[in-house]
Amino acid sequence: MVKPEGALTWKDIEIGFMVTEPGSASQYRTGDWRSQKPIFDLEKCIKCGLCYIYCPEGCIRQNAEEDFEADMYYCKGCGICARECPKDVITMVEEEE
């Protein structure tokens, strides 16, 4: 996207509000919706990968150390990962303002 949505004027709108740049949804910061964030207590993690499978944003990955972590650009704070983790690794905590 050339401009973020909040900066587009009505004259910038493409015909029928079409999106002409493939994959531009990846620029959409769903992290803005979050009011709680997942905190991982990795000591308890058995690396089963259920959090990765259940995350509706697909934003949980294993990092270089093979630890599971959520990408805060996309994590919308739904808490599904915390609910599904069999080892209570993940706790949802309030986002600070």
Partner: protein, 391 residues
């Protein structure tokens, strides 16, 4: 070669769609639109029209199919009426918002209940806010000409909007009228191939009908509104060019013996024909009354209406639909709002009549005019009066 023949208007629409080289017809049959799509199905089956005919399971599906075919850049036609138009309702908004140039003939039919297959404008009025261009035909020739113009208008790069061509149930759909069909080669020139600017194409992907959160939705809607209003200029150009090419000229608002008349009657659709006969009779009796015919309903021709009625003292508007619990007829209330801020304006008197296929004769129009003049002098406690209802 130009051909003139006596032909049922619905069948003639099929012929016009063939002349326009439609690529796709997706439709669900409903009285009184049936003959239009039946004829198109025949033309496709007989190989006379090289197009895809998609028989679908409902009008909602018909319009949804049209979205898809228009989105790949296919010239798309459909037709419906009454309940069918209502079943399409939510998809109509999608078609205009996604800027898809679909042409649809609407055989204006009353809405249930009670079930009525006959004509009025309730269906057309219920979709007036869906963002489509809406053109009303007065006779078969107008409908045919406007089906041709509709493809040109819809597909124009400056417009890219869907167009409804309205024709009254039975009074037009099932009439055999003398219709002049223009020469095929001239139609081909008049309606160039459809070059939709951003078609669905795997090699150049686009997303249509995406997500519009609060920071952008208003901008998108305003762009749509500006676009529909600006379409009027293109409609005027297309009508001018059509006239220069084929000899029949159209305008958003047309006067019939209206010049200098103290009293004006305003009608839309097929009733204008009877109203003209009534005006002739009243004129011959020395009555100072003329007729205004409204052809373009969306975008609403504010300037043209103001210009057409500004010198009259009384304007009597006949609607063929009720806005229940509201100001009466939609046409009348929109004309009132168009005139409200004007310094010079006639008194506007609203009538609703011709519901569910009820005829209004020449004598009926005379009655409407004399009652309208009476109300303009004495006033009325009602927002509007209904014509011809038995007490």
């Amino acid at each position: 070669m130009t051909t003139k023949m006596g032909i049922e208007v619905s069948v003639a629409i099929g012929e016009a769609v063939k002349l326009a080289n439609a690529d796709v017809v997706a439709a669900y049959p409903i009285t009184p639109q049936t003959h239009i799509v039946e004829h198109l199905a025949e033309l496709v089956a007989d190989g006379e029209l090289e197009a895809v005919y998609m028989p679908v399971e409902s009008e909602h599906s018909a319009m949804s199919a049209c979205l898809g075919t228009a989105a790949v850049g296919a010239r798309t036609f459909t037709a419906t009426a009454g309940q069918g138009l209502e079943l399409m309702h939510e998809v109509l908004y999608v078609a205009s918002s996604m800027r898809l140039p679909i042409v649809m003939a609407v055989a204006n039919r009353a809405l249930s209940s009670p079930i009525s297959i006959w004509g009025d404008h309730s269906d057309a009025m219920a979709v007036r806010d869906t963002g489509w261009i809406q053109i009303f035909g007065e006779n078969g020739q107008e409908v045919i000409d406007n089906v041709l113009c509709a493809f040109r208008i819809a597909e124009d790069r400056r417009v890219l909007l869907p167009v409804m061509v309205h024709l009254d149930a039975f009074h037009l759909t099932h009439m055999v009228e003398p219709i002049t069909f223009p020469e095929k080669s001239k139609v081909d020139q008049f309606i160039p191939p459809n070059e939709y600017p951003l078609p669905l194409d795997p090699n150049k992907p686009v997303t249509m009908g995406g997500f519009g959160p609060p920071p952008i939705y208003s901008e998108v809607k305003w762009a749509q509104e500006v676009n529909l209003r600006a379409a009027k200029e293109v409609i005027l150009q297309v009508w001018q060019e059509f006239g220069d090419t084929f000899g029949r000229y159209y305008s958003p608002v047309e006067g019939y013996r209206s010049e200098g008349s103290r009293v004006l009657l305003l009608t839309m659709g097929s009733f204008s024909e009877t109203a003209m006969a009534a005006i002739d009779k009243m004129k011959s009796e020395g009555k100072d009354v003329g007729l205004i015919k409204l052809r373009l309903w969306r975008p609403f021709p504010f300037d043209e209406i103001r210009q057409a009625v500004k010198d009259a003292e009384v304007l009597i508007v006949l609607d063929r639909a009720i806005s229940f619990g509201g100001p009466g007829g939609p046409v009348c209330s929109e004309i009132k709002s168009a005139l409200y801020q004007q310094e010079r304006k006639p008194k506007v008197i609203g009538f609703v009549g011709g519901l569910g296929g009820r005829d209004i004769s020449v004598a009926g129009f005379e009655e409407i005019v004399s009652r309208g003049i009476e109300i303009s002098e004495t006033g009325s406690s009602q927002e509007f009066e209904i014509f011809g209802v038995r007490e």
